[in-house]
């Protein structure tokens, strides 16, 4: 099965749609067992970053740079060479549970499929599918396995997705806003479950509270770049990048658990970000210096800002 | 199980189709029929096989002479020759006909043919036939059996037309035990018997093994029916049939120009393509209006455009093959100015209700265009043939103009019946016909010439053209009847080299 000591190393990941740069020079690592949050407003490039790791970018969108899981390349290789990693070494849970399952196929079969695809004999996969459904705490897993997706609630379907993702015991789980579409009460259970079962985790969300409850480390993305990264506690208590600072300040005004409030001004659409520091047109501290792009610097707690908060 | 969805099933079907298709085209040379049989293409399929109760030419075309025989028949020259009667004698008062019947003739049911059947068949015309033409035998007073092989027919008055009528379907001989299902099971004495009938497609006639006369050269003949003229042409081009009995798309004849492959036969018919005018109601109850129409039509141009110039021009209800034919094409030369003058500057809107047959639809468009030049606006309304046309035009007489090919031989008499759809009513004409029927041969000819002239002068109708007998056959097919003299398509001599 998967190599237990595979570390995800992403370096200089850039995602383009034709001439548009949607994600630029993103680098980070996730060690085995580590749980990393990736936050940012919509349009920040966080989902594209995740999809490029899975090799699931939409047509006409391409990724360059390197991303390696253990000794296997994830980016810039043809699909038939990465596809046996997908679902076995890296798995992903998507945002929308209502449409992510094939409506014409029984749930159990969809869970079993990911195992048979990677070499598990059919009958064994079928049995283990039920076990997986039990593991994601679905009541009466045998019955659920025989159900069709439309017979399940959103939360149940997301658990099924999680079961699929975990079925082969992957080294890395990527979750792209897995709870956004769920009811608040269901969200909480789901998060606890993910935190409990995930091996290494890349958790994408725009909800700061969620990140705080699940992850140890966080990456903050804006305008297609990582603008700040570091241990959750440090970043959240002492944000350095002005964007992170704005995010946190805004979130404190509202009760815990609500969605990420927007920073003053609005996120430009793709391709409309300024040169240099991508945040400078919304940043109250911007100076002419900011017309040059700042590098992400710092050990442990890193940030890319000419005028960091202290 | 669900895995074998419809896509797989479809794929399988595909493979099967492809495999069959591929496998078959290898051995595809078997398209031609067996040497002993021939396929002949026809236009109109009979609705049933009972020509005693169903109008139309399709049934006698297939069955008369071939399956049913009369005492006499018409040969290719139009002469009346013996068939089931070896010979006959006519009394001096020309009212008594004594037919000496052939011996050893059997019906296809096995029953022998005797004078009793003659009496039965002719009596049956009076009692059971449902066709208008049965009145042609009204002249028969009585039919008697003298002995098994002699039948005597007595007429009310002398009739020149009687023996001729006996050569038509009216004279067909039926078995006393063979008329229970005429619509489906014909029983006759002819060289062929009904083999099979695939409705909507073909009728197969098989050689009658116990035929009394010369056995036919072919073991079977298939009559294939085509509603579409092009489809029939294609069938001959590709070997689906051997003969086109009647070309319905004369412009296409050049496809068959290669004399090494095909033979085109152009003979004559008794078919007068008549532009009928309703003499019974305005505007064509006015002789001048009718005459205007005759002057307005350029018959040569009509024949050239509508029927590729095939066929002949006639000016009255007599084809050139009849003894009393006279060229009447000069009676009403093409003269639009004269036509306008006859109409007195008035314009008319008229209904042209035609059968939806190729020659009628083509001719109607020319007629309409030419009539428009003299101020007559004709609205063409094609009606399904036969039912709707028969109903509206023939039966109800609800029309102003129509176009139909009157194929019956020696059918000038239809104008004598004022209830006929022409609505032509001239007692003089009826007298001429009656006198012709009763007079000597010379008197008959003279009277009928008179009658034809009268029809033309009265402009009882207009005669667009004489329908040609256009046959196309594969090279090597022999014994085809060049002229369509009678109602029947005579297969007796048909053979293949």
């Amino acid at each position: 099965m998967s190599d237990p000591v595979s570390t995800l190393r992403v370096e200089g990941l850039t995602v383009r749609a034709e001439s548009l740069e949607l994600v630029r020079e993103v680098s980070f690592t996730i060690a085995p067992g580590e749980r990393v949050g990736l936050i940012g407003e919509s349009g920040s490039g966080k989902s594209l970053t995740a999809l490029s790791l899975m090799g699931l970018l939409p047509e006409a969108v391409t990724a360059s740079g390197t991303a390696r899981l253990g000794d296997r390349d994830l980016v810039g290789v043809p699909e038939n060479r990465v596809k046996d990693l997908r679902g076995r070494d890296v798995s992903m849970v998507f945002q929308e549970p209502m449409t992510a399952l094939n409506p014409l196929m029984r749930v159990g079969a969809q869970v079993a499929e990911v195992m048979t695809l990677h070499g598990t004999p059919r009958h064994e996969a079928r049995e283990r599918a039920v076990a997986m459904l039990e593991r994601v705490r679905l009541p009466e897993p045998g019955q659920v396995a025989r159900a069709y997706p439309h017979q399940l609630s959103g939360g149940q379907r997301q658990r099924v997705m999680l079961a699929i993702a975990l079925a082969n015991g992957p080294g890395l789980l990527i979750c792209d806003e897995p709870t956004t579409a769920l009811d608040v009460t269901v969200q909480k259970q789901m998060l606890e479950l993910i935190a409990e079962v995930a091996p290494a985790l890349l958790f994408i969300t725009h909800d700061l509270a969620v990140v705080a409850s699940v992850c140890e480390r966080v990456l903050v993305m804006y305008g297609g770049r990582v603008v700040e990264s570091g241990p959750i506690r440090e970043v959240f208590t002492r944000p350095r990048h002005r964007y992170t600072e704005g995010l946190l300040a805004a979130s404190k005004l509202t009760p815990r658990g609500t969605r990420l409030p927007t920073v003053q001004g609005s996120v430009p659409s793709a391709g409309q970000f300024p040169d240099g520091c991508v945040f400078r047109n919304r940043c109250p501290h911007a100076t002419p210096t900011c017309e040059t792009a700042p590098a992400l610097t710092g050990d442990g707690h890193a940030f890319a800002c000419w005028h960091p908060a202290d | 199980m669900r895995r074998i969805g419809i896509w797989i099933a479809v794929g399988g079907l595909l493979l099967a189709t492809a495999a069959c298709g591929g496998g078959d085209s290898g051995g595809s040379a078997s398209g031609t029929p067996k040497a002993q049989s021939l396929a002949v293409g026809f236009v109109a399929e009979p609705a049933n096989l009972d020509f005693t109760s169903t109008e139309g030419a399709a049934i006698p075309q297939a069955l008369l002479v071939n399956v049913y025989e009369g005492l006499v028949k018409l040969d290719q020259a139009g002469e009346i020759v013996p068939l089931l009667a070896e010979k006959w004698e006519v009394s001096d008062d020309r009212k008594t006909y004594t037919f000496k019947l052939r011996e050893n003739v059997k019906f296809s049911s096995g029953a022998p043919f005797t004078a009793d059947d003659v009496v039965f068949s002719l009596d049956r015309v009076k009692s059971d036939w449902k066709l208008k033409i049965k009145s042609q035998l009204d002249v028969v007073d009585k039919v008697e059996k003298k002995d098994d092989s002699t039948a005597v027919i007595t007429l009310k008055q002398p009739s020149n037309g009687f023996l001729y009528s006996m050569a038509t379907r009216l004279g067909a001989m039926f078995s006393r035990t063979g008329v229970s299902d005429l619509a489906n099971k014909p029983v006759g004495t002819g060289p062929y018997v009904l083999g099979s009938w695939r409705r909507g497609d073909s009728i197969q006639l098989d050689a009658n093994p116990s035929y009394w006369g010369t056995k036919p050269p072919l073991s079977s003949i298939t009559l294939k029916y085509f509603k579409d003229a092009t489809a029939m042409n294609n069938a001959l081009l590709t070997g689906g049939i051997d003969v086109i009995s009647s070309v319905q798309a004369p412009e296409s004849l050049q496809q068959f120009a290669d004399p090494n492959r095909f033979e085109v036969i152009e003979g004559t018919t008794n078919g007068e393509v008549v532009l009928s005018m309703n003499n019974g109601r305005p505007p064509f109850n006015d002789k001048k209006a009718r005459q205007a129409v005759r002057h307005a039509i350029d018959h040569k141009a009509l024949l050239d455009t509508a029927w590729a110039g095939r066929g002949g021009l006639i000016g009255s209800m007599v084809p050139p093959t009849d003894p009393w034919y006279e060229d009447r094409t000069g009676d009403y030369p093409y003269d639009p100015a004269k036509a306008k003058q006859l109409l007195g500057g008035k314009t008319y809107n008229v209904k042209m209700r035609i059968p939806n047959l190729p020659y009628a639809v083509a001719s109607a468009q020319v007629v309409k265009s030419q009539l428009a030049q003299v101020g007559i606006t004709a609205e063409i309304e094609p009606l399904e043939f036969p039912a709707r046309w028969l109903d509206q035009v023939f039966t109800k007489g609800d029309y102003d103009l129509s176009i139909i090919n009157h194929v019956e031989p020696r059918d000038m008499g239809i104008f004598a019946d004022k209830s006929y759809y022409f609505g032509y009513d001239n007692p003089e004409f009826g007298k001429l016909l009656a006198s012709a029927d009763q007079g000597t041969e010379q008197e008959q000819t003279d009277d009928l010439k008179q009658a034809a002239k009268l029809l033309s002068d009265d402009a009882a109708a207009d005669w667009l053209f004489l329908f040609p007998n256009l046959i196309v056959a594969k090279k090597g097919v022999t014994g085809l009847p060049e002229n369509a003299i009678s109602e029947s398509f005579d297969f007796t001599a048909l053979a293949k080299q």
Partner: protein
């Protein structure tokens, strides 16, 4: 599912019954008394009355309808007033021919449309994919009979490899049967295939945008594998509807191809009946066609339910 099936079956039977009433009532509008038509111009009133009695057309319409529909239930379509032969067997023969023609045509259509439509969707950015779309658009615009005439011209008249028309029953000569049907199948199938190609293409395009295809790829399938395993069955749901519609239209639409290729099918029988004023025959053929369409709709609905568990 069983309940649904029963319900749907009840609807089918009810609509067929109503259709029978409609067809019967419509035929009553046809001008002309069958007895008068059969006897011709100068029949005596007594003869007409006698024949009416024989035909049963002298009775009240309701009695006639009950008689006719009662016969239908036993597969008896009555005896033609014109041909004096029973109508049921004729319709049976012709229906068989038309069914072979239409089903074969649909098979060709599917054979054309499924691979081409799928390809055109998957490669909708490639020139070839776009070309398939364009060609299918042109294919739809060609009348089926024109396609038939052209096929005859090329394959029968010029190349002389296939017969130009005619129908040989399977029992008589399977080889000739097949040879005779290839061109009719092709002319029906290519035109219908063009229509179907577009539906397959758009259905596959829709499916390709679905999240569950991404899920399948996330599980480790390639994009082709994901489409094959998860996409096509989903795409088949709308295609089955169209297929049902086409089949229904073709039952009568095939009549033009029957005419071009001289195939004695149901449409041909209908036109004969109309031309010959064979009322009972027309009534029977129309009833069979309408019932067939209703049955096709039924089958499509059931197929729908089998394909899509959400409807169960």
């Amino acid at each position: 599912m069983t309940l649904y099936l029963l319900k749907r079956l009840a609807v089918l039977l009810a609509s067929t019954a109503v259709a029978a009433v409609v067809v019967f009532a419509f035929m009553a509008l046809l001008p002309g008394d069958p007895a008068e038509i059969a006897l011709g111009v100068n029949a005596t009133p007594e003869a007409v009355a006698a024949l009416r009695q024989q035909f049963g057309t002298d009775r009240p319409p309701v009695a006639q309808f009950l008689d006719w529909s009662g016969g239908l239930l036993q597969g008896d379509f009555g005896t033609s007033y014109v041909t004096s032969s029973p109508i049921g067997p004729q319709i049976g023969d012709r229906l068989g021919v038309t069914a072979v023609l239409v089903l074969g045509g649909m098979a060709v259509a599917l054979a054309v449309a499924v691979p081409l439509g799928t390809y055109a969707a998957v490669r909708h950015r490639d020139p070839l994919g776009a070309a398939i779309s364009a060609v299918s658009q042109v294919g739809i615009a060609i009348p089926a009979f024109l396609a038939g005439i052209l096929l005859v011209f090329v394959f029968a008249v010029q190349a002389q490899v296939l017969p130009s028309g005619g129908y040989v029953p399977f029992a008589e000569d399977p080889g000739e049967w097949l040879r005779g049907l290839l061109l009719p199948w092709a002319s029906l199938g290519l035109v219908q295939g063009a229509v179907l190609t577009r539906y397959v293409r758009s259905a596959v395009l829709d499916v390709m945008r679905e999240d569950y295809l991404r899920t399948a790829r996330a599980k480790g399938r390639g994009s082709t594998g994901a489409l094959w395993r998860h996409g096509l069955r989903n795409a088949s749901v709308p295609v089955v509807t169209v297929l049902g519609l086409q089949l229904a239209t073709l039952l009568i639409g095939a009549v033009v191809v029957e005419r071009v290729f001289v195939i004695p099918g149901l449409g041909d029988l209908l036109l004969n009946g109309v031309a010959g004023r064979d009322l009972l025959l027309v009534q029977g053929v129309v009833m069979v066609l309408v019932a067939a369409v209703l049955v096709i709709n039924f089958v499509v609905d059931v197929a729908y339910h089998l394909l899509d568990p959400r409807l169960r």
